[in-house]
Amino acid sequence: MSALTVAGLRVAYGAATVLHDVSLEVRAGEIVSVVGGNGAGKTTLLKTVAGVLRPAAGRITVGDESIGGRPSWEVARRGVVLVPEGRGIFGDQTVRDNLRLGALARRSAREAVARDLDRALDHFPALRERLDRPAGSLSGGQQQMLAVARGLMGAPRFLMLDEPSLGLAPILVREIFAVIARLRAEGVTILLVEQMAGQALALADRAYVLERGRVTLSGPAAEIRENPAVVEAYLGIERR
């Protein structure tokens, strides 16, 4: 069954169309990776699914419910969580409060939230030591971890990650990809946008290549990874 279906999606900022007729599908339990250069429309795609941007045309379905054009807070309450590019953490609040806010849309029992908090911190031990510090005092990389951890607090059925490895040290990049793999094992469906395309494709089940707002290639991640045009344009030195 498909967790997310996007059909004929068109998104524009004013007169500039950023996504043209984009269709894609993410099946339950999959990791699907979207690959593309800067300005291809990857972030726009995720923001539109999350309800931050309104589509000009097209359908977005999560499970069997249409969510296209709904406001982002309604989308979030359906377990569709976006970890945005650029972190967007609440700098004046403590790390703990940032994480709790991630669980706000769920309206779950205290115990469940406490358990998830513990689990999120297991993924990112560096945050545990800093629970009562204001999030703004964290380093850039730590804020990135916090953003991902806060996303997990939403108990996502469907998780969208926009460049989760941004600004992380190599040891943590490996860690974050391991976390993503663990999440899939726990049954979370994931749509992943990542500039480290090689690592993203190694982890993903399927992938879409987005160029200038259009899907130009799609298929099993292993095949996309071997495609000479993709290697040339997006993998570069990572493969050497």
Binding site: Y13, G14, A15, A16, V18, G36, G37, N38, G39, A40, G41, T43, E85, G86, A126, S137, L138, S139, G140, G141, Q142, Q144, M145, E163, L166, G167, L168, A169, P170, I171, L172, V173, R174, Q195, M196, A197, G198, E211, R212, G213, E232, A233, Y234, L235, G236, I237, E238, R239
Partner: protein
């Protein structure tokens, strides 16, 4: 508003006295003109630098009373009285600004409210000079038609001056300070000086309008200069369109005519103002002018493909001034620096030395203090101990713009382009740096300033070509995707022709192919006698490929320093940072 729009407004203004001899309409037009002059000035402060004043009725009053007193007590000719009014308002404006602009945003608004109230009370209480609540009367008046021509001409000049200012280095510096004060200072622009200048210009124009108000009415009293007047000034600007050049005119017309149409509802005037404010916030966030102009304006085509952005590096970029032979071995010397925040030690005894034209990478786990180190070098933080030297000179404790002026440029971990400016204008701020040149030339659009403008633009375009951004030069910087925002920031930093360039994670958010391009660009830069570079970066391929030396930070200490080959083998580095050998 295009040329046609301005031509229509000018034609209407010229035709009005011929169309009607009714002094009521002419007086109304005069009021629009006066409000336009004040809001044009306020637009420089609020629209360009983003600072709100709720005390401009105070400057309006200073101008009015200065002119009134000069004309009555000293029997000075009108032009002398007007000049005195402008000078007094500007002088007091500069004084208020240099004290008040240590704060900004809502705090500045509070301070200006206080200023306005103080002026109002002085007018009431200082009876021997101001005439107290009764004010000053029997001031030699101009005829309504004469006033009309004078006010219309001054309003046109005021709009013209602000338009010139907007397209000058000063105007760009103001918008840059509004977009990101931190980034503006990193280019050598002193945000404080820029804001004081904007505040003074707005005070001077308010003073001039006050003098004209006096000549129009022949009678002034404190009732005309209350807090409500200040609010109307700001509201006219917001309603017309903050930051747009025609906004002051549109807002002034609306805020003058609407209350007149509803004269039967005088008691409800405040409700009308409140409603207008809500209307502009809900439906006209860019004002009347923004709503008209913004519709259907085509945006330049987006999305440069990956292939295009890999365009070959053009070696045409100007190199920095040749280093003199006497330059000491180390360009940058960070000596045993330490800093802690709220008891948490961020950096401890860190030493770093960067020779000219070398590329030094600083790597380490997240939270190790890498960005803190850059912030210490560039003056955003002050070290608790130790010293930073640049070319032998101690720069510890200097403010960021002063350090930038000594040849240190930087980028930020989260790119901070000036969103209120276009791509090319962003780089022009860098090219100009601290050298904003004469304010008079900027306001009057003198030929020298214009020549310099085209030079700045030309040089900025060279840097854009080098960073693969030439095709998007005229787009608003806000429309760039994340990766290109970083490229823009590098172009802007290089445009200051620094001796030392600090890059905070330049490759974050770039695809591997784009990282290769960055690698080529940085290498080319070095071959062209470019700046020394200190780079904080996590992409090991890039770090290993271009660094001459690497310093590794962990928990605020340097745990290793050496060549890339030595560092990648270092067991402590592998343990703390790499995880497996790179």
């Amino acid at each position: 508003m295009g040329r046609i729009g301005w031509a229509l407004v000018a034609a209407a203004a010229l035709a009005l006295p011929a169309l009607t001899a009714n002094t009521y309409y002419l007086y109304l037009a005069c009021s629009i003109g006066l409000l336009t002059i004040v809001t044009a000035g306020l637009n420089v402060l609020a629209g360009f630098t983003g600072q709100i004043s709720l005390g401009h009725a105070g400057f309006y009053a200073l101008g009015a009373y200065a002119a009134g007193l000069a004309a009555t007590r000293l029997a000075a000719p009108r032009w002398v009285a007007a000049v005195a009014a402008v000078l007094l308002a500007a002088l007091v404006g500069a004084a208020v600004a240099s004290a008040a602009l240590r704060v900004s945003g809502p705090y500045l608004a509070m301070v200006t409210i206080a200023f306005g109230i103080i002026v109002e009370h002085v007018l009431v209480e200082w009876v021997s000079v101001t005439g107290g609540p009764g004010g000053i009367f029997n001031i030699p008046k101009l005829s309504v038609v004469g006033s009309y021509w004078l006010i219309a001409a001054v309003a046109a000049v005021a709009l013209w001056l602000t338009a010139n200012l907007r397209s000058s280095a000063w105007g760009r510096a103001m918008l840059a300070v509004k977009s990101s004060e931190v980034a503006a200072e990193s280019l050598g622009v002193s945000a404080y000086v820029v804001r004081i200048t904007a505040f003074t210009i707005s005070a001077a124009l308010a003073g001039l309008a006050g003098a004209l108000f006096t000549f129009l009415n022949g009678y002034i009293s404190p009732d005309s200069f209350t807090l409500q007047t200040s609010i109307v000034f700001l509201l006219a600007l917001l309603f017309g369109g903050l930051g747009s050049l025609a906004g002051p005119l549109a807002g002034a017309a609306a805020l003058t005519v609407l209350p007149e149409l509803l004269t039967g509802l005088t008691d409800y005037r405040l409700i009308l103002y409140g409603a207008l404010l809500l209307i502009s916030i809900y439906w006209l966030p860019a004002g009347v002018v923004g709503a008209i102009v913004g519709r259907g304006r085509p945006r330049a085509a987006a999305a440069e493909s990956a292939a295009e952005s890999i365009a070959a590096v053009e070696p045409a970029a100007p190199g920095p001034d040749a280093p003199s032979a006497s330059e000491p071995a180390a360009l940058l010397g960070v000596e045993r620096i330490g800093v802690s925040f709220g008891g948490v030690v961020a950096l401890n005894d860190v030493t770093l030395s960067v020779p000219p034209r070398h590329i030094v990478a600083v790597i380490g786990p997240n939270g190790a203090g890498k960005t803190t180190l850059l912030n210490l070098i560039t003056g955003y933080y002050r070290p608790d101990s130790g010293a930073v030297r640049l070319g032998g000179e101690a720069i510890t404790g200097l403010p960021p713009y002063a350090i930038a002026r000594r040849g240190v440029a930087r980028t930020f971990q989260t790119a901070q382009p000036f969103d209120a400016l276009t791509v090319v204008e962003n780089v022009m701020v860098g090219v100009a740096g601290a050298r904003l040149s004469g304010l008079t030339g900027a306001l009057l659009g003198l030929p020298g300033t214009r020549r310099r403008e085209s030079e700045l633009r030309l040089r900025a375009q060279t840097w854009l070509r080098m960073l693969g951004l030439a095709a998007r030069a005229e787009e608003p910087a806000a429309s760039l995707p994340a990766g290109l925002r970083r490229s823009l920031e590098i172009a802007r930093a290089l445009a200051t022709r620094p001796r030392l360039l600090l890059l905070d994670e330049p490759a974050a958010g770039l695809s591997p192919t784009e990282i290769e391009t960055l690698d080529r660009r940085l290498t080319a830069l070095r071959q062209q006698d470019g700046p020394a570079i200190v780079m904080v970066e996590h992409h090991m391929e890039l770090v290993m490929a271009i660094s001459d030396r690497i310093s590794v930070l962990d928990y605020g200490r340097v745990i290793a320093t050496g060549s890339p080959a030595a560092v990648r083998e270092n067991p402590a580095v592998i343990e703390a940072y790499l995880g497996v050998p790179a």
